[in-house]
Symmetry: C2
Subunit: 470 residues, 2 copies
């Protein structure tokens, strides 16, 4: 036997040395198939180690199939195929183009519409709610959740959106998921795949891309001053329409009642017509009251309502939900019987208590107050600095607004300069689902203010000015 | 104006009464399009309320598009299409077949392979790790995570699986996701859709169904005593093989080294061949050491390794991961650039500290100890009670084992009786991807012991005996 034992290591290690030594000898072909191994006792004597060490080593080799045993005859080497190793192009090193560089965000200011400010998030209360969840829902936490999500959580969400959004539903109709994108994917499996889909343009590019990847016939439809154009929906022969009536993404417009009624009336003209209402940030409404959801007006079960807690709780929370009309719910139950719930169940039950104890409402109120102030300050500061070079679509809602800047520069120049001076901005280019290049010497940005502290607003606007005019 | 104001309510409510009163008059057609509304002052006088109340009411109607305003002329009713309401089949009540009945689990005992025992989960340490995560990763938590998951967490997972599973990788190759099912879905988008897939039979039905839904040509391949049959893989002309080498699901067999080498050699014969290694419960290994992953032997970048924290931390944690070979990683980055991370980021950073502080390793060790005891007791108790009527596939690994019972009863009879006497069991029927009915008077059950307390084992076995022989 060609095993070297290093006694300096601890005893535990000795059996591993025996295991490895024999394993290598087998793989290298030095020990042949069906060759008999020495008895435990004789190997222990030969190596001057304990029989236990040899025994553990043999057991491990046996468990992994390197050797086999015949009762009262001993241990034998398995017949193992020779290993083919191809010429290895990568030599186990990751190719350079796949390396990730750590990105430092120090010194950056963000005008992103996607971020949140966690400095006012009540983490203490959140942890308390989590402790309650652990105490009260231990059995539920030890099992895999039902695909639609735990009933108690759906019940809570149901009551919340009935109150705050006028949504008409039962807990049974709610499907919880780890993000609206995932839910849209699930929903669209239930809808005939020869459907024609209309989406708002400009609009939410992720849904557009997802629908295209799912091989749907998707059409970007332009907006007039009331929202998505009815005549284009008709001319494209669409039967499913995706809209953001509470706060059009990204233009910020609120869909007036007349367009809402036109859309709902449109659904009644064919059995396969649906509206997907993406209510992504409706919790943020300044100056006036919240406007009820489109779903609240629907008496024909044609609206699928979608909401999320990413904007109000944490961006990485991954708890969204959709409300299915009864006929789609029936299809969902058929199709997704074996599916998993993808939201973290500890976070789901935590959210449940966060809402039940009133902490959620308090937090939303606090955020509304804070974001309203920031929004006003940011708009005032931009107007002061840019004067006539700017036009702002000033709708007091949501976490972003659209602003148009007079400039000779291109989108690319603007975006590159912003990176140079560490200002995170998103231009409307990202949301134009059909590109058009005659932009009459203006650039439109989607400006978010949720993660911009009051004391940084002046500096952020200064950088913004720099981006355009330096 | 036909508005009735109830002064008994608080002032806040008065503006809402004005808003609702006018809104209803418009929707019912009592106020006509372009009709002028009374001035704020005159309406306030008429209703004997404050001008502010009228003003708020008008603003809300304006925001929602019920009325419009012309400067210095006043407020006018919008031209709103009439609402079409179809005859409503459901009358807003949920149809009976869609109702969910609350299911009580009181008095049940579980032999499920899917559950966990949370009574030994160190929730206190988990919460502490969460507090650290909140403190140290506030910025990351306020942003949407990178589609592969935060680098710090991937780095931690990378070091963990290098150590415990011999997995050969860099953090860049790890993709975190909210479940292996979701990750399989993502992975298979990167693999040519004319691929032929081989899956183990019996095997994990969820993957099989998912692959069929994705329209892949999937073939259940039977097992010999070493695992998935090589000649069937060849005869089906498969180019992607799904396996569970550490602990075959559900038979529990450990794939010996020779079959591992045969599988790896098989991949080298064509450029499009891959093995998906689902290492779903490899952390649980009794009597011998852990067996390194199949990926650890792969020098040709053909194995996609998949792991999960559902079994070791919480079933509803929804944190899984896959390790992509460089060429698939490149495709992933192209395809999923705009994709979201679906795992909860607070839980991800909590897990990061849970591993880094050593709590994870401690917990896995504690669970191994506990589960080993339960496994031994359950097997002993079953053997004692059933004597010759039972054969157990006794592989000291994982959280379940396969047991065959001599009986004249059918699977359906067994399953119905189990529900009657509140015993949760899963039969192999669920995992037979191709049904065969000549089961020679025996029934095979997948028996899990993770959520069965020691003191309940005798009772659970008594019920099991009842299921078969009463």
């Amino acid at each position: 036997m060609f095993i070297l034992i290093d006694k300096q290591r601890d005893t535990n290690y000795i059996y591993q040395q025996i295991y490895r030594g024999i394993k290598e000898n087998i793989l290298k072909g030095k020990l042949k198939a069906n060759e008999k191994l020495p008895s435990k006792r004789s190997l222990a004597e030969e190596l001057n180690v304990s029989i236990n060490s040899v025994s553990f080593g043999y057991e491990q080799l046996l468990a992994e199939g390197y050797i086999y045993t015949i009762e009262r005859k001993g241990y034998f080497v398995e017949n193992i195929t020779e290993f083919i190793q191809q010429e290895n192009l990568f030599k186990d090193k990751l190719p350079e183009d796949l390396r990730e560089e750590p990105v430092s965000r120090d010194g950056w200011l963000s005008l992103s519409h996607m971020a949140s400010d966690l400095s006012i998030f009540p983490f203490k209360e959140w942890i308390k709610c989590q402790e309650k969840a652990i105490e009260s829902y231990k059995r539920e936490l030890s099992e895999i959740a039902y695909s639609q999500g735990p009933f108690a959580v759906r019940d809570t969400i149901c009551r919340l959106i009935a109150l705050s959004r006028g949504v008409n539903c039962e807990p049974e109709q709610i499907v919880i998921g780890a993000g609206t994108q995932l839910l849209v994917g699930q929903l669209m499996e239930l809808i005939s795949n020869d459907s024609v889909i209309a989406v708002e343009n400009p609009g939410y590019a992720r849904f557009y891309q997802l629908l295209k990847k799912m091989n749907f016939d998707v059409h970007p439809v332009s907006l007039d001053d009331q929202g998505i154009k009815m005549n284009e929906i008709e001319s494209k022969k669409a039967n499913v329409v995706f809209v953001t009536p509470s706060h059009q993404f990204p233009t910020g417009k609120i869909m007036p009642i007349s367009r809402r009624i036109e859309l709902l009336n449109w659904t009644t003209k064919d059995d396969n017509r649906y509206i997907v209402e993406d209510d992504y940030d409706s919790e943020f409404k300044y100056e006036t009251d919240n406007i009820s959801s489109l779903q609240s007006l629907d008496r024909n079960h044609r609206v699928i309502y979608m909401g999320t807690f990413s904007k109000t709780v944490l961006p990485g929370l991954r708890i969204s939900y959709m409300v299915l009309p009864p006929n789609l719910l029936r299809k969902y139950r058929d199709y997704y019987a074996a599916f998993m719930q993808y939201s973290n169940s500890l976070m789901l039950f935590t959210l449940h208590y966060f809402i039940e104890t009133g902490e959620y409402a308090k937090h939303v109120k606090r955020m509304n107050h804070q974001y309203e102030t920031r929004r006003k300050l940011l708009i005032a500061e931009i107007k002061r600095r840019f004067r006539d070079e700017i036009q702002i679509e000033d709708v007091p809602a949501g976490l972003h607004f659209l602003a148009h800047f007079k400039t000779e520069k291109s989108y690319q120049e603007i975006e590159e300069r912003a990176v140079q001076i560490k200002l995170e901005i998103y231009s409307i280019r990202r949301f134009l689902l059909k590109k058009n290049d005659n932009r009459e010497n203006r650039i439109s940005l989607v400006l978010g203010f949720a993660n911009l502290k009051e004391e940084s607003i002046t500096e952020a606007v200064e950088r913004l000015y720099d981006v355009f005019y330096k």
